[in-house]
Amino acid sequence: MKNLKTNLSIITILVVFLFLAGTMSSCGTKSQKEGEEQTEESDHHEQDSSNTEDHTEAGHHDEGTDESTSETMMWMPGDQPFTGMLKLEQGNEPSLTPSVTSESDGSKVLNLTLTGEKVILLFDGALENVGANLQFKTNSFQGEVAVVHHYTDVSNYDYVSLTSSAMKLGRVENGKDNVMDNKEMKMPTDWATLTVSSAGEHYKGLLNEKLINHGHAETRAAGQVGVLLSGKGKVMLKMMEVMKLTE
């Protein structure tokens, strides 16, 4: 009985000690994290202000509306085609008969007419964990509209693509197409937003903010992000946003 009492006393002291230690370390961690977050926030403000300066300088050039911070890049068409940060990587510019028009709301649209060739437009810079939104519309178009990422060359990239019959998530490796997920889907007739996220080994494809594809694959080396178009007909691009994903 005495032995039991001694053991219970030890346990009680231990529990109280662990509770106190846990409480103190928890409070300490929180205040330390709060401090770190404040520092991070001030860093972001500094970065934002420096980016605003950069953007003002870029405004002197006729490059459309490009916005860039350390974590996001946004492209919208300028007065002239292919002058912004989304650059034509593959495709014959004259045969695409590119033009920039304005919508009723004042936003500009890049119009491309495809005649069966493959067209690739890319942002500069390589990203590993990435998310991207593409706002687009098609007209009498038969083919594929895709957001590509981890692009290193025309035979190596990941993608989410939309055709007149399906939306799929996949990886092209040494020219071989490995489909991670494929769902039946019709090409939208109005403006639509095609979204892709690549976070670690998890890949998602969304259409108008609705999750359509979810797949998994091994991580691969960082690569460029952009748009891939192939087929025949007219494709209109209004906006593309690329985001570096962090925890």
Binding site: N7, H202, E247
Partner: protein, 153 residues
């Protein structure tokens, strides 16, 4: 199943997440207690708690797999969601293996040996670290990015 959920709940996952945490931490606590309070029934309770923790981790993991395709995850939270899913899987695999080992050692009455008990306790601490990391990422999804949270009306 969904009709049983309260109106405010986005899915069943938030209802279940606390079970493996609480059960595993309780098991860890009694795993430590039995160094001082050597009772046969305590060995059985601890083993049962670790098995129950593994079962609840399995159910929680499956509910999480279902939840990730239902809830709206903001783009900037995708990497946290991805890491949460990965650590959830590592935790489930570890808990399952650990529970199986503990059940086997209990059956063979090898967990009474002091050296084995110390090793098992170290294994329990590793499990606690795993679930702590998974829970931290899950909490970040909710409290930092607002995943599964409704706006106040």
């Amino acid at each position: 199943m969904e009709s049983l959920l309260p109106e405010w709940a986005p899915n069943v996952h938030p209802m279940l997440v606390h079970f493996p945490i609480a059960v595993f931490i309780t098991a860890l606590f009694f795993d430590f207690v039995k160094f001082f309070w050597k009772k046969n029934w305590l060995h059985m309770v601890v083993t049962a708690l670790f098995v129950f923790a593994a079962l609840s981790a399995l159910i929680t993991y499956l509910s999480g797999k279902q939840a990730i395709d239902i809830v709206s995850v903001p783009m900037r939270a995708e990497l946290t969601a991805s890491n949460h899913a990965d650590w959830g899987l590592y935790t489930l695999l570890y808990f399952s293996l650990f529970a199986a080992i503990r059940a086997f050692l209990f059956w063979k009455e090898l967990d009474r040996k002091r050296a084995v008990a110390i090793l098992l306790f170290c294994g329990s601490l590793a499990g606690a670290a795993l679930i702590s990391k998974t829970a931290d990422l899950g909490a970040k999804l909710v409290y930092k990015y607002g995943v599964g949270v409704q706006k106040a009306k």
